[in-house]
Symmetry: C2
């Protein structure tokens, strides 16, 4: 392969995505690894990174830039938060250099908000990538996932943001709660999902009693597994929408995330009377990482 | 001890409570066992019961009456549901006799509701005990727990009911979610609990974004573990209250459950402008089981 010039890594709670880039930003190779903050000790990160790069035959002279939970207090090396509102071209300047590595490894900061208190690590880099792609971007970004973020962006900066634990709650309720007996497989019903979104839009307070009803509907009314799983998803996403109403009302929301999940959010936005568009997540993340690296290098050069 | 006459068992999802009673209904011995529907195969129930009774030296001639999840499809032996609205003096008549046991073992039915779909197993027996104690009881019963029930009772019957998974969600969120890092111990803050109930009463839709804020408040604003845990409890119980508003509004609610949990529900009722009283759960459960057994015996005698 042509000469590798930069290692870009999005290192999250449960895994990492690593790209090897040439000097023009082209991807030479990429790896998805199953090791993240939740199953690594701080001292493990360096070894995991070097083992991955050894497999790809990448030398010690290629620098690495990392975003995400690797920079958390329980991660590899803590990268202090930037304080919102914050411009995102400052990400590179806020990066910290990991000590005791022969390779040059830098970790980008996350962003915190004082009131209401909130934190992000990784999403800020994706938003930086979006701004690099669309410099005059102004509006709402939603990043659906384990902890979905809703972010107000203007003038190259994160203005404010909210977080909902919708993905983590869906994983628990569908796989480990009493509701799991009603959804033994991965079946899906678009109709049931849409009906649940509508139900929450009409009566947001009903969600706590509608959750157990998913189990009861199976026992009493013989609902299918596909209906049960889609109803659970619709109730939780619908509830999230009602909690962050001031973010999407009368907006066209930019969605960054796994495409299947973004499709659900598009459906919910449509039912709620708003609209959305999806941006490809890998490209945006890479853009954010490389732009931050470049900015950092320029800074060092000054 | 004086001669044992009846074994009464409340057999739930995660464990059982067993009482040995004499012919006057006095408790001669009792056991709490860690084996419930979630960790027993149907073929295990009989062995677990006999091992417990062997330890107490109880002969095969003493009959047993059981309520709860032992009667579920995944339990010992399925006891079909009564259909709400249903009188509770029919519980004994609806009991099924477990086959292939040398001891006489009967399991009481649960109650199901067609629309909105709902089910209970165990709580109906506690409510039957309440009605046995207060024959003209008329009003709302709340049974806080893993799956909290809100039940409208009149004329000796369950009229309608709702279920909220508040206890199961609290257990997951406090012990296994990202929030668990913010509540490593069992600390508690009454002020934080009350503030969370008030917050939900003012803005019920906010709960999904207030959950992650518990974590963020710890990272950004240095909230204590006690505040975090009590806030989580208050958000979930407050959310439950808003979902079943039509049950407690302008009511004095009768609470049946663990006393510490009932105290939280009393506080929430007070903040919401309603009121409550607590009934001792063991006495009520025993009353329900023995009354159902007696009714069943009378029925057989007819």
């Amino acid at each position: 392969m042509s000469h590798p010039s930069l290692i870009a890594v999005d290192w999250g709670t449960t895994g990492f995505r690593l790209w090897v880039l040439d000097s023009c930003g082209n991807t030479l190779a990429s790896i998805d690894g199953p090791f993240g903050m939740s199953n690594l000790e701080p001292s493990d990160f360096g070894r995991v990174l070097e083992e991955s790069l050894n497999e790809l035959g990448i030398g010690q002279d290629v620098p690495a830039i990392i975003c995400g939970m690797a920079g958390a207090a329980q991660g590899w090396c803590e990268a202090p938060y930037l304080l919102a509102p914050t411009r995102l071209d400052e990400l590179g300047a806020g990066a910290i250099r990991v000590s005791n590595t022969s390779r040059e490894v830098c970790i980008l900061p996350g962003v915190k908000q004082q009131s209401p208190a909130n934190v992000m690590r990784g999403e800020e880099t994706q938003i930086a990538g979006l701004i690099h792609l669309v410099p005059d971007f102004h509006g709402i970004v939603c990043l659906p996932g384990t902890h979905t973020k809703w972010v107000r962006v203007a003038d190259g900066a994160i203005i404010e943001f909210e977080t909902c634990m919708t993905g983590e709650q869906f994983a628990f309720l569908s796989k480990a709660s009493v509701l799991s007996h009603s959804m033994p497989d991965d079946g899906w019903s678009d109709c049931a999902f849409q009906a649940a979104i509508r139900l929450v839009a009409d009566d947001p307070a009903a969600v706590p009693r509608r959750l157990f009803a998913i189990r009861a509907d199976m026992l009493v009314a013989k609902q299918t597994s596909a209906q049960a799983r889609a109803t659970l998803s619709g109730l939780l996403i619908g509830q999230e929408f009602m909690a962050v109403r001031q973010y999407w009302l009368d907006q066209t929301v930019t969605l960054i995330g796994v495409s299947a999940l973004c499709e659900l959010y598009l459906t919910a936005l449509d039912i709620m009377g708003a609209s959305g568009r999806v941006v490809e997540v890998s490209e945006i993340t890479l853009r954010g990482l490389t732009a931050a690296y470049q900015h950092q290098q320029d800074g060092i050069g000054v």
